[in-house]
Amino acid sequence: MFVIQFLMLSAILFSIGVYGVLVRRNGVLVLMSIELILNAVNINLVAFGTSSGLSGQVFALFVIAVAAAEVGVGLAILLMIYRNRRSIDIDQLDELKG
């Protein structure tokens, strides 16, 4: 019944996250936006988890752990990119252009 509010929140967060990923040029902000998307998913998991035991919350914890690792790797990559190029502008990383 009031799951809908959580879902709305989650959808708003997700949309903000997607917007951030698609639009921001700063790599760190892109990472942060990804975190937003993940957290939107977490909210969803927890919200649906209220009607079906604890597994939703357990999955949310897993996602937080994986997200931490992902941010670790992501920041390391960004650091290396900054060292090589003195910039973390995502737009400039178009070496794979066909």
């Binding site: 997607v18 990923v21 639009v23 995502i90 737009d91 178009d94 066909g98």
Partner: protein, 748 residues
Amino acid sequence: MWFLTHAWLIPALPALSFVLILVFGKKFLGPTRAHYIGIPFVLAAFVLSLLTAGAWISRSNDHVETEAAAMSGVDAKCSEIAAAADKGPEVFEASLAGETKASPAATTPTEATPAVEAAASEEHPSQPVVRCASWWQNDDSVFTIGTIIDGQSVLMLVVVTLISLLVHVFSTDYVNGDRRYTHYFAFLSLFTASMLFFVLSQSILQMIVGWELVGVCSFALIGHWWEEKPNSDAALKAFITNRVGDIGLLIGVIILFFESGQNWSVLDINTKANTGQIGHTYLLVASLCLLTAVMSKSGQFILHTWLPDAMAGPTPVSALIHAATMVVAGIYMVARLYPVFFHGLSISGSSVNAMAVIGSVTALFGALLAFVQKDIKKVLAYSTVSQLGFMVTALGVGAWTAALFHLFTHAFFKACLFLGAGSLSHACHHSFNMVDDMGGMRKVMPKTFKTFVIGTGALAGIFPLAGFWSKDEILAGTGGLNAANGTYTFALIMLLLAAFCTAAYMTRVIWYAFYGEYRGHGEPHESGPRITVPLVILAVLGAVAGFANLPKSIGGWKLPEAISLRFEHLVEPVGVFFPGKDAGFTHAGFNVGLALLSLGVAGAGVYLTYLFYWKRALKPLEGLAERNKLAGAGKNILVNKYYLDTLYTTIIVGAIKGPIAKATYWFNQNVIDGAVNGVGRNAVKAGQFVYETIDQQVVDGAVNGTASIASSTGGGLRKIQTGRIQQYAALFFAAAALLAGVFVVVIG
């Protein structure tokens, strides 16, 4: 019997000598002693031949009653009829009647049986000894090589080895110091071996081999002094003229082989021809083809032209060629396959046939040519042509024994005359021109003179020398006066004219060579013993050889059996492989009138020539050719040898070289090359078309099309490959959103 079954040794000895002389002659003996090998080997072959002859004589005295028993000496694996005889008289009779499976050509089997009975009743069948070995085998046809010993081959063995031996001895003096002395003796050996191999031939295939070997050796020896162009030309002419006849030989042999049920054996072919198992048409064609071979090998008219030119070789070689080897091969071949000719040419009861005509024309025309020759050897060469004509005529009229008897006597006196001519030229600084370089030699060369006169007498047919008996037998055999096999009056007249000419031209030779003043230069001298001893031996044989076949009765005076017709008894075969009485084969008796006529003709020839040259009594005839147009034209024809050489070299060869060659060239250039070039051009065009249309457009088009499609697709897709992650992410999210929308619509 050992000698009869081991006759292969006789040709093997000179063949071995040939190899030894070639391998060791020059190296170990030096350039002048090749005869140290040659003479012992030929002597051994001669002794073996004599022993073989002795064994044959004793064998022919062992009478057997039946034809089948007479086959006991024939190796069954070399002859179908011998194999049939081994299985008993019934099988033998059946095989003669052509009832075996192997003889599909059986046409008139009834003819066979009476011949056998008649032969068995009166004359004892002769018992040939045949031995053979497998030469090679192809599938189920076995080709055998072997020896056949009967009177005919024994006769030739003795004659060939004897003449060859004397020629060897003569040559040691005559070609002494020649630069190719070793080579000369090697080829003499091979020549002898080839001829012996030929006369012993048990199969007609082997006969061809021997025939060709003889041809090769004659080529090598005629061209012995090949540094001079005429000599090598003469050798080539001899060889090539013989090739013309060889084609006939091949065709004839092939016909006989297939028509006798694929059989090479001489005995079988003869038997089948005799018993009517080979059709008459085949026999006729085969005998005409073989006759062509005889015309070339034995120098019969129109193919005789090589024989006088063959005088380019050393004189002893000429003696060997003319007396024993080479030219008599043709006569021997006809005699060996006589049933083929006898039935093929229908000799019996006829009055004309191809062989008799060719022989008698050759006899007269050859003799006429001898009159205009200055070269003593050429006179003798034309005389050989003429005498071979006698032999061929004899065979053509059915006088088989007379032909071989003449061959036998002719071998001695002709070898004697040739060696005599060699002795003369040896004395006269190697000139053979009797008109310009000889004369008066009877005083300086008494031995040569005497032997030459005896040889001349024998050749002219003067009683009682050898030629008289053999020539008379041929004349009687023509049956012109007393019907024998047929009545060949034409042949008789030609031969009598030829006999007249023979006597006349030989007397002319004697005049030029031995009488008058010496016209050459230097001091002529008698030749040494190595030349005169063979001459004396040959002259003696030439004088007495005629007694080998004395007639049974001379004008009512009967001769004892022991000395009459010995030659006929020993040499002439009796049996299924030879035409018998029932086939119409008969012997002409001695005819005193004919003998006197031929003697008179010969005497007239000698006497007229004597009057003309010695007495100068025939003044009106002297220089007739210059005064009388007709006589001049006649002489012109003779000097130009009937224009046969012109015919061959100018017309036939000239035509081939000139217009025919040009036409062939044109045809080659335009038609054949045109076709080839046309094909080539069209192939190029087709290739071009394939290249341009199919390869370039279809195949390459497909490949390039694929590539360009891939390239343009790639180019199109490249545009969305920006490398910008956020764009990818946008697409990703858009797709996900779209998918989500689809899910909502579909599920919801």
